[in-house]
Symmetry: C2
Subunit: 337 residues, 2 copies
């Protein structure tokens, strides 16, 4: 089969214990010995058997990711890319934990993690009421939730600063003279949706503007829902001169509705999105939007989990700053020009 630690030891003329020590960074090894061992390792391409390591040590260097199957949104793949960075940095591998299995009566998700010696779990893409996470949290397996505010003795979460995101969007629009600023609120009952809605209200208050409930419409992050929501907002009177959307896709749908109504962006209505997906730069005019640092979310989630695993007691909630990116869909209000 593939080379094992005994082969390396033999080739280097030392004991397996010494090889192990070199590989595990013990400082009590003679530099010459170390060098020799390392050379053999290099030559043979030896890599320790993960199963044996996991069996004897406490570390399996395996993390589990548990995500919704509806990961079609680019957000997920971007976060995943950030996670890759973290994984490489910390040396973990990721095992994919299927959602289908979670509800299986025979099957305990937690026991599965234990049998696989999973050191920590990332949960990703679920709403609070979608699944019962009690068993997972009670198990004591370190867990990081992305975009869901769950906290436990060994559980925490990470998310963008959603509240500040929409607030900054409103502030921007208010600063350039808008007074009737509508909102397309995506999934307002979700953790993320609620904060974006609150951020909008706070922003309006800060700017001394009144929130009218008929200036708030709901969507679900899709272009279609943004289109429909905008149509309903355009039915109100007086018309809003700007709209904050909780997603880029929604914003693009909103732009279509605005144009179909014979109005222009940003001439008649300014539009601000949320996410800063690639498409935000490619629509015309380019979309002003609240940028989420998806890469950081991914990377930090792994780092946070790693810290939990090492009992370093990281802060139970990590909030990643958002950044308003001003492009072409927001312009001074008409009555200001």
């Amino acid at each position: 089969m593939t080379t094992n630690i005994r082969d390396v030891a033999k080739a280097a003329g030392v004991s397996v214990a010494t090889v192990s020590k070199v590989l595990n960074g013990y400082t009590t090894v003679n530099p010459k010995t170390k060098e020799k061992v390392l050379r053999i390792v290099q030559e043979t391409g030896y890599r320790p058997n993960a199963a044996a390591r996991s069996l004897v040590g406490q570390r399996s260097m395996t993390l589990g990711v548990f995500l919704t199957t509806g990961l079609a949104h680019p957000f997920f793949s971007h976060v995943l890319m950030g996670m890759e960075e973290g994984l490489r940095l910390k040396g973990y591998d990721l095992i994919y934990l299927a959602q289908l299995s979670y509800h299986n009566r025979e099957y305990s998700f937690v026991r599965h993690c234990q049998s696989r010696n999973v050191e920590g779990v990332i949960v990703f893409g679920f709403q609070r009421d979608e699944l019962n996470f009690d068993e997972l949290i009670d198990s004591g397996i370190p867990t990081v939730f992305i975009d869901l505010d769950v906290i436990g003795p060994r559980a925490g979460y990470i998310s963008s600063d959603n509240r500040a995101g929409t607030r900054s969007a409103v502030r921007h629009l208010a600063e350039i003279g808008h007074r009737r600023i509508a909102l397309i609120s995506d999934l307002p009952d979700s953790y993320v949706g609620r904060l974006r809605l609150e951020g909008y209200r706070e922003g309006m208050k800060e700017a001394g503007l009144e929130v009218r409930e008929d200036q708030i419409a709901c969507g679900d992050y899709s272009r279609e829902s943004g289109y429909r929501a905008m149509q309903s907002l355009l039915a109100a009177s007086p018309l809003p001169t700007a709209v904050v959307c909780c997603s880029d896709y929604g914003a693009i749908g909103a732009m279509e509705a605005i144009r179909e109504a014979g109005l222009s962006v940003p001439g008649d209505v300014s539009v601000v999105g949320f996410d800063d997906l690639e498409i935000a730069r490619n629509v015309s005019p380019a979309l002003t939007t609240v940028r989420q640092d998806t890469r950081a979310i991914g990377r930090r989630s792994i780092e946070m989990l790693d810290a939990m695993i090492r009992e370093e007691h990281p802060a139970p909630a990590v909030i990643i700053p958002t950044e308003l990116v001003v492009r072409g869909t927001s312009a001074p209000a008409a009555d200001r020009r």
Copy 2:
């Protein structure tokens, strides 16, 4: 810690060997003994330690998935869902193998698989020239490529019947009287794109129709590219009365371009997509399209890999049938009505 096989053996009043035999389905166990052991297992929720199993047996029950980071397209998540089914059926877990690592000089992807005792690998979302798979194929690790025709002693691939897909689209359009049928060919240099292009040519030939090169435009599976490609097709004369698109997104972009040109779908131009994503049912009129059985692709890829692992020598290429779903965007050619 968690219960182990010794705890179970003690509780059941038998040896660990017996417990192991029960759990591994040996038939030489007394039914009463077996029952007792199973009861204890049930009560304690005991699950064998995967690392120990992997170390002693040859099976790690771990498969690796190696996919491009750009997995934003719904196609990927649907295939992944199909893979979940297969995994559950066969009892494997999936480990996610990061792309970033592949090119790392220090790092051998194959060795990584070996150190993790990965029994087989699924490769997914790559073009042939994107990565060098030689080391992987030479390693003898069973590998299934999705949508890329790589074959080796222990490597095979799975894909939709792309050729039949576009051919059936052309046949359908020809049958309802179209004679000028254009094509939007997505990534014609890729394995999948090439076959869809060939299927189009074959379909045209079958129908006795001439292929005009100015009736073929290129796209990249995006709505935007479909939009642009359609614009260029509409610049030709005489105008095509139908267009086959190699993606639903592209088809939707094409529909936009057609309408912007003052024409109607399907009144002036019929449109056929490829994929049958959810959005195909939600556009108006609903999109006629070539349905890919993404679920089957996912499930069968795991089954195929499992068969390779068991040395059952499955066919090296599995082609999943496509199905033409006729909806509202295709109608008899104008001169036939």
